[in-house]
């Protein structure tokens, strides 16, 4: 794609770049990437809302077969929840250090956050292997795996993105107190994933 481009196309790319960056009327526009991300997270939240609505309706309407239970072991998921909530605060610390241009501490807190996310995923894998039901056993089991799995996918992506900004932050001047879209975006996403987990934990484990 990039090597064999016809002249006209690369010319146009260059042109679009220049309309974006040169004095062509675009300078007065604000940076909308965070706005776009927030809108996307609303959409993502609606996906979860659909899942939650389905789960609650299943629970209200469809009786489980004899012997199946809604009760789940609570100790490990509670520890997991604590880890994930705490990781939102460690990410917040990373942002604080970034605003002080303290990149070493910022990176340390980012790495801590990513490791806590990975610990959460590890805890969830452990839980999966020790649950008394499988994916297709009953409606509750299917919903449980679908919801926690879809959320786990979000955590996995989030942890990967934190590791990416952690690596990028090693380059001097890549993120500055004024210019740090990557970190701000991943932080917003991480808080979103955290909030979704709190709702999910309440509905799946506590209800």
């Amino acid at each position: 794609m990039t090597t064999t481009q016809p002249a006209i196309e690369s010319a146009e790319q260059a042109n679009t770049l220049s309309t974006e960056h040169s004095s062509h009327g675009h300078d007065e526009h604000p940076d909308l990437r965070m706005f776009g991300l927030a809108t996307f997270l609303v959409a993502d939240g609606m996906t979860f809302a659909g899942f939650f609505a389905a789960y609650l309706t299943f629970r209200a309407v469809n009786p489980l077969p004899a012997g199946a239970i809604y009760e789940l072991e609570l100790l490990l998921p509670t520890i997991n929840t604590a880890i994930l909530i705490a990781s939102s605060f460690t990410f917040h610390r990373a942002s604080k250090e970034l605003m002080k241009a303290n990149m070493g501490a910022c990176r340390a807190w980012l790495l801590t956050t990513a490791l806590m996310g990975i610990a959460f995923l590890g805890g969830q894998m452990y839980e999966y292997f020790h649950l008394p039901f499988g994916l297709t056993d009953n409606l509750f089991a299917s919903t449980f795996y679908a919801l926690t799995g879809f959320h786990g996918l979000h955590v996995t992506l989030g942890a990967l993105m934190i590791l990416i900004v952690w690596a990028q932050a090693a380059r001097p001047g890549y993120f500055t107190p004024e210019k740090h879209f990557g970190i701000a975006a991943v932080e917003l996403y991480w808080h979103f994933v955290d909030v979704i987990w709190v709702v999910l934990f309440g509905l799946l484990y506590l209800l």
Binding site: Q13, N15, F35, A43, A54
Partner: protein, 557 residues
């Protein structure tokens, strides 16, 4: 994909970099005008595929027995027809197509807020469409209709259904990316000094549509993921034999698919609101009420989905709520229709193709709206549910409503797209054939449905033969009607008279530049149009480039 090119600063390099070749329409272009036309042309190609499938359906139904295609093929054809027409033709064209072309002009911007996301959103569509069509050739397409209701979608061959799901997920993703882009562009990318209540009505329509897209499309995506798990991993979410619940699927599906009707129709409302004032030389009547009725349709549109499910064992309170909510939608919609009629009232109407198609839209959409209010009533709905009455109603909404507006918009903006005028005679021939064909095709289907002919069947009772044959003749006329249209839009690129910058003497910002517009939309500063509908002044005294509409309207010298 992003290439690190050094920023080019010199002005002469800049002017030489204007894309001129037709090749840019096949490239990953970031120019919103190129992407808009990519959407429109790509949508038309899929429209022809969907239209050919409709031809197969009507040919099959010309006789009571299943003699043209097998029943399984018929099911695949009707599934592909519905999916292609909705997800690959109407939604991309009225949203992505005209939205991308017009919205940056209307907000006074050089491009959309996220040009790369925009190009990505478009380029998800052709692969998704080709994937969907290819499923017919590799093991058979999905057979469960565009609604993919389980348990039917779980029990029909899995291959086609899974390809259908993947394709719809891609198209849904494209739609969400587009919606995010429109919301950001309209709310945050406006020219300084341009207030929300000064925007052309199409901006409001696209804002409302995009809110619906962002809120409801993800629910469909999640639902289809659960459905695919039922098919592939044999979970039982929607499978009653495993304790699942099919009605939950219907609720989640219609939570998207009812708003989807507004996703298809609200942009058409917006486009028609642009076309009518220009060709009637009058300001749009009741601008503020138009805005609030769009917002009311958005809010109400999100809470009426279960009126598709009155025969799905819905409890009485749910029937009552959804009947009332649905009937309420007629109020804001009615406000819009009276406003359009009041816009035409005592105007100096130019009966060109764009105006004629818009007027046909008003007539036919009102008819579809009236049958819609009827269908919202439970006692009536339970009798005609899943009959051809619903088919007729739906096609009066999406074809009589949206597709007529798409044609009106093509004729209206054709001079801007190409720099040439479209041929009026061919346009009127197109209108005549389409109106006669459309009403001949779908009018009799009301009768068929009221008399009990079920939809989605390859065979029917012989008593329905005559009306089905009338309907098939209408479908044939509709197919023929695309011939003058094609000759017109392709031929006029060479034969059409030079349009000039502003052949309609319009005031909205896309006309205040050359035709076709330059890459940066306007040479020099973007015009700030405070009143886009200030028509009604004497001709010849207007300097459109400097005056605002409001000055002209109130103080015509």
């Amino acid at each position: 994909m992003t290439i690190a090119l050094p920023p080019i600063k010199s002005p002469e390099a800049h002017s030489s970099l204007q894309p001129t070749s037709w090749l840019r329409y096949f490239s990953f272009s970031l120019d919103h005008k190129v992407i808009g036309l990519q959407y429109i042309v790509c949508g038309f190609l899929f429209y022809f595929v969907g239209g050919a499938l409709a031809g197969v359906i009507r040919t099959e139904l010309a006789t009571p027995i299943s003699d043209f295609v097998s029943r399984e093929t018929y099911n695949q054809v009707l599934t592909l027809h519905g999916t292609i027409m909705i997800f690959l033709w109407i939604v991309p064209v009225v949203n992505g197509g005209f939205g991308n072309y017009l919205i940056p002009f209307y907000v006074g911007a050089r491009d959309m807020a996220f040009p790369r996301l925009n190009a990505v959103a478009f380029w998800m569509i052709p692969p998704a469409g080709l994937l969907l069509i290819s499923s017919y050739f590799i093991g058979g397409a999905a057979q469960s209709g565009w609604t993919a209701y389980p348990p039917l979608s779980i029990t029909t061959p899995a291959m086609g259904q899974i390809i259908w799901i993947v394709s719809v997920l891609l198209l849904g993703g494209s739609s969400i990316f587009g919606g995010i882009n429109f919301i950001a562009t309209i709310l945050k990318f406006r020219q300084p000094g341009l207030k929300l209540l000064q925007l052309p009505m199409y901006c409001w329509a696209m804002l409302g549509t995009s809110i619906l897209v962002v809120l409801s499309t993800p629910v469909l995506a999640g639902t289809l993921i659960l459905l695919s798990m039922d098919i592939v991993a044999h979970t039982g979410f929607f499978n009653p034999s495993q304790g699942g619940n099919v009605v939950v699927y219907q609720h989640l599906f219609w939570f998207y698919s009812h708003p989807a009707v507004y996703i298809m129709v609200l942009p058409a409302f917006g486009l028609v609101s642009e076309i009518l004032p220009i060709h009637a030389r009058k300001p749009l009547f009741g601008y503020v009420t138009m805005v609030y009725s769009i917002l009311a349709i958005v809010v109400l549109g999100l809470v009426v989905w279960a009126h598709h499910m009155f025969t799905s064992g819905t409890p009485p309170w749910m029937r009552l709520f959804f009947t009332i909510a649905t009937a309420f939608i007629a109020v804001p919609t009615g406000i819009k229709f009276f406003n359009w009629i009041a816009t035409l009232w005592q105007g100096r109407i130019a009966l060109n193709s764009a105006m004629l198609f818009s007027c046909a839209f008003i007539l036919q959409f009102v008819f579809g709206g009236i049958t819609g209010v009827a269908l919202a009533q439970v006692p009536f709905d339970v009798h005609v549910h899943d009959t051809y009455f619903v088919v007729a109603h739906f096609h009066y909404i999406v074809y009589g409503g949206t597709v007529f507006v798409i044609f009106a918009s093509i004729y209206h903006w054709y001079p801007k797209f190409t720099g040439h005028m479209a041929n009026e005679h061919l346009g009127r021939l197109h209108l005549l054939l389409t109106v006669i064909g459309f009403n001949l095709c779908f009018g009799p289907q009301h009768w068929l449905g009221l008399n009990g002919m079920p939809r989605r069947v390859a065979e029917y009772d012989p008593q329905f033969t005559l009306m089905n044959q009338v309907s098939s003749v209408g479908a044939l006329l509709m197919a023929i009607s695309t011939i003058p249209f094609l000759i017109n839009v392709i031929g006029s690129i060479w034969w059409g008279a030079k349009a000039g910058d502003n052949p309609w003497r319009a005031l909205t910002p896309e006309w205040l530049t050359s035709s076709p517009p330059p890459v940066e939309n306007w040479k020099g500063a973007a015009p700030l149009v405070h009143e886009p509908y200030g028509y009604g002044t004497e001709l010849g005294v207007i300097d459109l480039k400097v005056a605002t509409g409001s000055d002209l309207w109130r103080n015509p010298q």
